[in-house]
């Protein structure tokens, strides 16, 4: 178990999240996937902190910011989706494409 192992796990987690964000039809599932991506970034920060710069404070602050952001994004995102649900009667991302070209 070393730094590389953690980095590989976080890279995989990030890409799984990205995959979900790109392919899920349900808008809420897209937000869930984005949360996975944010978690991957946080995991990265903490691994670097632990293995490379254990006395540095920056990664921890970044993780806090990341978590705050996740919470804020969840709140705004769900409100946006609720709004979409009211206007369109669906939350399928594919069906919401009035604007194009």
């Amino acid at each position: 178990m070393n730094l590389s192992d953690f980095l590989v796990v976080s890279a995989l987690l990030f890409m799984i999240g990205a995959y979900g964000a790109f392919t899920r039809k349900n808008a809420i599932a897209v937000i869930l996937s984005i949360e996975l991506m944010l978690n991957a970034a946080n995991l990265n920060f903490l691994s670097f902190w632990r293995f490379l710069h254990p006395s540095s404070m920056e990664p921890q602050i970044f993780v806090l910011v990341g978590i705050t952001l996740a919470a804020a994004e969840a709140a705004v995102g769900l409100a946006v989706i609720l709004n979409i649900y009211r206007d369109f009667g669906t939350i399928n991302v594919e069906d919401i494409s009035l604007l194009k070209g």
């Binding site: 178990m1 730094l3 980095l7 890409m15 392919t23 903490l46 632990r50 919470a71 594919e94």
Partner: protein, 187 residues
């Protein structure tokens, strides 16, 4: 680099994280997807524990599992009738995008593992000291980012209320749990 003696906990935690993450992005029933997020977040918390970041283990469980996940589940319940779980829940591009993500992940992992990381150390400070230092930093050196993060949350809250509040009726379901958010913010 082997101060953490056993590989087993790491393997279990990564398997839990990645496995449940895969289920989250693939499972058809969206509510199930929401519930599968729980072991995934717990797995990440476990990895944090392996990294001796105890404070963040707690925060991860509190915020993600306690607040965000509950919020998600509320929203899912609210809109679950919309999506028919018997139909595919992924769009047409899922196969090429999947391939792209696999290749990309492999590339990123290869570059990151191939890098010569400098001054890699094995020092582990006791966890309580870490938390105290963090607390001091948040009211000292990093007071500004901390405050800005709170402005960010406030702005998000205001925005969420504006968007979610319907023009006539009182606020719909997600709001009560939103208001719980600032309290659970790490102080």
């Amino acid at each position: 680099m082997n101060s953490i003696d056993s590989h087993l906990p790491f393997l279990i935690m990564s398997a839990l994280t990645l496995g449940s993450a895969l289920v989250v992005v693939r499972v058809r029933n969206i509510v199930h997807a929401g519930f599968w997020l729980l072991p995934c977040f717990l797995g990440v918390a476990g990895l944090y524990a392996l990294l001796q970041a105890h404070f963040f283990v707690v925060v991860q469980v509190l915020i993600y599992v306690g607040a965000i996940l509950v919020l998600m589940l509320f929203a899912l319940m609210l809109t679950q009738d919309v999506m028919n779980p018997n139909k595919p829940q992924t769009n047409r591009m899922s196969l090429p995008i999947g391939l792209f993500c696999v290749v990309f992940a492999a590339g990123v992992a290869a570059i990151l593992t191939g890098h010569q990381w400098m001054n890699s150390r094995d020092v582990i400070l006791p966890a309580n000291v870490q938390t105290r230092q963090l607390g001091q930093a948040l009211i000292g050196e990093y007071a500004l980012p901390f405050e800005i993060a709170s402005v960010l949350l406030l702005a998000a809250l205001v925005g969420a209320i504006v968007l979610a509040k319907s023009e006539k009726e009182p606020a719909p379901l997600p709001l009560p749990s939103l208001e719980a958010l600032p309290d659970s913010k790490p102080e």
